[in-house]
């Protein structure tokens, strides 16, 4: 067995590059504000552009 580590396999390197690219893209989108803030509460009424968490109270049904 060789003394030198043979390095990561190609599939692992490719997966790492894709994951890193997606992370960088997400950070760029968040920093640039493209598409608005991203978070679990972004679509909820009352959260507006803050990306805040969901409100505890549900609005009363309209009659």
């Amino acid at each position: 067995m060789s003394d030198k580590y043979p390095g990561a396999p190609r599939w692992a390197k490719l997966t790492g590059v894709i994951a890193l690219a997606m992370l960088v893209l997400l950070i760029v989108l968040l920093v640039a504000g493209i598409g608005g803030p991203h978070g679990p509460g972004r679509h909820l009424p009352g959260a507006r552009d803050t990306g805040a968490a969901a409100p505890r109270e549900v609005p009363a049904p309209s009659k």
Binding site: A8, P9, A12, T15, G39, H43, P45, V58, P59
Partner: protein, 175 residues
């Protein structure tokens, strides 16, 4: 601590059941989310969101943690190890990532279920949230299928740590 053959098979069976159950539960959730987004009958739509919340807390969240824990037991109790092979490490990272995203989605799911119990129809401005639930469920399902494929194909590749451990076992003991 290495597990014996019987215990190892029992642990593997438990892990497979939890993991495949997790995939199935997310697939069912995706169907309900799609009905919630595109359904015409408001009672069906409301029922879908209530069922989504029940499915999330009674199946998806418990199965995600069970898959994670049984996976940790399976890797630490066998020669595969947790950080020796890239496929095991990748599975761990993807499972943790999926579980975090799932927990972040629970507030939106709970909100839609609460609204479905009180209102006759989901408000039009909630279309973004309804679409988001479909997108995240679809994305989660794709990641879970990738994890399943990794488990069956087990692509080769040792991490630096795994390679060092293997080398230590193969070399004769030093005097």
């Amino acid at each position: 601590m290495m597990m014996g053959p019987r215990l190892r098979k029992l642990a593997l069976t438990t892990h497979v059941v939890c993991s495949v159950g997790f995939v199935g539960a997310v697939a069912a959730f995706l169907v309900l989310a799609a009905v919630g987004l595109t359904g015409d009958d408001m009672r069906t739509v409301a029922a879908a969101y209530i069922a989504m919340e029940l499915t999330t807390w009674s199946l998806i969240v418990p199965l995600s943690f069970a898959a994670l824990v049984t996976g940790l037991v399976q890797s630490l109790g066998t020669p595969w190890g947790l950080v020796r092979h890239y496929w095991v490490l990748t599975k761990l990272v993807l499972t943790v990532f999926t579980t975090i995203i799932l927990l972040l989605q629970t507030s939106g799911i709970g909100y839609m279920a609460a609204l479905a119990r009180t209102a006759a129809a989901p408000a039009p401005e909630l279309r973004g949230l309804r679409s988001s639930l479909v997108m995240h469920a679809a994305g989660g399902l794709v990641v879970l299928l990738m994890i399943t494929a990794l488990s069956t194909f087990k692509p080769r590749g040792l991490t630096r740590y795994g390679w060092r451990r293997l080398r230590e076992h193969k070399l004769p003991p030093r005097a």
